[in-house]
């Protein structure tokens, strides 16, 4: 081994981290705010990929426009789901778990019925298909796009939550729903909007993952485990998910450099279990009393 290739592994780690983080963002928002464990998160990602595929295949929309469009489409799906189902279950966490799991099956089979089980592909502009040299590391240009978009979204979310009046309302509801309501904040509306936001973020992630891999009705399952781990390790806060993704992404890359991908993942899962044994509330736990 030499220092150069270790450096490559570290750079690749940042890219892995950004992929895991963008998969976890929507889940973090929904869990952190409403305390809902959204089992359909993976299928929201899948819907994002299919949204982009449809827009591209049937309407010929340029790929970069598919990203915001997928956000809007999946956010609307999330909105409909929240209004039609989730909002009746906020005081029953176990029921939300089952309900969202049911929704995930419906979405997966629904997409399979419409589009079939054969893989679809998303086309990206020529310039994203090349490889870029970062120092001595060669990395696909598209992974840098993913990194950039992840960084942009994290920054935008930070602005939204910490610099706007909407953000104050969301954080007030997170800490103490009753006091928030006593001061004029409609927590039902806040939950609705954060659920839609979280779904939309999954949509963007899906539009990106459709390029990194192939578009399949079952594609959500391969991202959702990582996403859940990031949320659990991070403690459900935005900062927690960022740090958790960063650390585990780097560990994945470095362990894989010494061994292989599968073994690296095995080590990480074990480390996460040990970590949660000693800190079950995660890295940055929310102090507030949720409902």
């Amino acid at each position: 081994m030499d220092l150069g290739s270790l450096l490559n592994a570290l750079i690749l780690g940042v890219s892995i981290a950004s992929i895991w983080l963008i998969a976890a963002l929507g889940l973090t928002i929904i869990y952190g705010t409403a305390g809902v464990i959204n089992m359909a998160h993976g299928e929201f990602i899948m819907l994002g990929a299919y949204s982009s595929y449809m827009l591209q295949f049937y309407l010929g929309l340029p790929y970069l426009l598919c990203l915001p469009a997928s956000f809007v489409i999946v956010a609307l799906v999330g909105l409909a789901l929240e209004r039609g189902l989730i909002r009746y279950l906020y005081n029953r966490p176990l029921d939300t778990l089952l309900a969202t799991y049911g929704v995930s099956l419906v979405l997966m089979q629904g997409v399979r019925l419409i589009f079939g089980s054969d893989p679809k592909y998303l086309a990206v502009p020529e310039m994203f298909q090349s490889n870029v040299m970062l120092g001595s590391a060669s990395i696909s240009a598209f992974r840098i796009v993913v990194l950039g978009i992840t960084a942009f979204l994290v920054f935008a979310l930070w602005l939204l939550f910490y610099k706007t009046r909407f953000g104050v309302q969301v954080r007030a509801v997170m800490q103490n729903k009753e006091m928030a309501a006593s001061f004029g904040i409609n927590s039902g509306r806040i939950y609705m909007m954060t659920f839609a936001l979280g779904a939309g973020l999954a949509g963007v992630a899906g539009a990106l993952f459709g390029v990194l891999a192939i578009v399949l009705p079952t594609m959500g399952a391969s991202y959702v485990v990582q996403a859940f781990l990031m949320v659990v390790v991070g403690g459900g806060s935005l900062a927690g998910s960022v740090v958790a993704s960063g650390v585990t992404g780097e560990m994945q890359s470095v362990f894989a450099f010494f061994t292989n991908d599968t073994f690296a993942r095995f080590i990480i899962f074990v480390l996460i279990v040990v970590f949660l044994r000693f800190r079950p509330q995660g890295l940055f736990a929310q102090a507030g009393a949720r409902r």
């Binding site: 954080r171 309501a181 006593s182 001061f183 004029g184 904040i185 409609n186 929310q286 507030g288």
Partner: protein
């Protein structure tokens, strides 16, 4: 004087348990109404019923004649209710500034600035706007809770045991501030209190509660020692 708040045969529940039973009273604009009674007779539940925080209630609750009993808490707040709950309900992850700003969401005029009054009467808060509210002492948290309720621009301040667990010199200070808010700014107060002395000093009218029912009410001058002994000594 006109009637500001009016309860008509209100029964309020937690689950299937009735906490307030057939509760009726009214208060005039600009009054300070002291709600008295032993622990556990329903004083806090009265406050929570006004805010709409109990599981359900029957009967009519009116503010300036408008029936609010079917409205959810976040709508009720916009009728000019500034709530200072028992235990203060400070959001400890928020800064002092954010806690006060929380009050502005219930403002009728939708203004998003901290009103001057909040900081004028509590200089300590003015100097520590960016401090995390969780780090404040009990007395400071009480000041913050009152400032936050004032940020609503309230017609009525609901103060649930405002002097509970606060050192004696601050109790006086808070008493003076409440008196000023009531007498000079004309904000009506509903105050639950265990200290008879504070109630006599501030109150215009009293409401004696026992076992979820109104057992006596009237001008504060009519609150005889005999009445106090019967319903408040243990």
């Amino acid at each position: 004087m006109s009637t500001l708040l009016n309860f008509e045969n209100v029964t309020s529940y937690y689950g299937a348990t009735r906490i307030l039973k057939d509760f009726s009273f009214e208060m005039e604009q600009g009054q300070c109404l002291c709600v008295l009674g032993r622990n556990g007779v329903g004083k806090t539940t009265l406050m929570r019923t006004i805010m709409g925080l109990t599981d359900r209630s029957t009967g009519a609750i009116r503010i300036n004649g408008a029936e609010i009993s079917a409205k959810p808490p976040h709508v009720r707040a916009t009728y000019g209710l500034g709530y200072v709950p028992q235990g203060r309900g400070i959001l400890s992850d928020f800064t002092v500034r954010e806690n006060i700003l929380l009050g502005t969401f219930a403002r009728a005029d939708k203004a998003s600035e901290i009103p001057d009054i909040c900081l004028r009467i509590f200089p300590y808060l003015k100097e520590n706007l960016d401090k995390r509210a969780g780090l404040l002492s009990g007395g400071q948290k009480q000041q913050l809770a009152i400032a936050r309720a004032l940020a609503v621009g309230p017609q009525i301040l609901l103060l649930d045991e405002p002097t509970e667990g606060i050192q004696p010199n601050i109790v006086n200070e808070i008493g003076e501030i409440l008196k000023m808010l009531n007498k000079e700014l004309g904000i009506s107060l509903i105050l639950t209190e265990q200290h008879i002395k504070v109630a006599r000093k501030l109150g215009d009218a009293f409401l004696m509660v026992d076992n979820g029912r109104v057992v006596a009410r009237g001008p504060i001058a009519e609150m005889t020692d005999e009445l106090v002994n019967r319903h408040m000594t243990i």
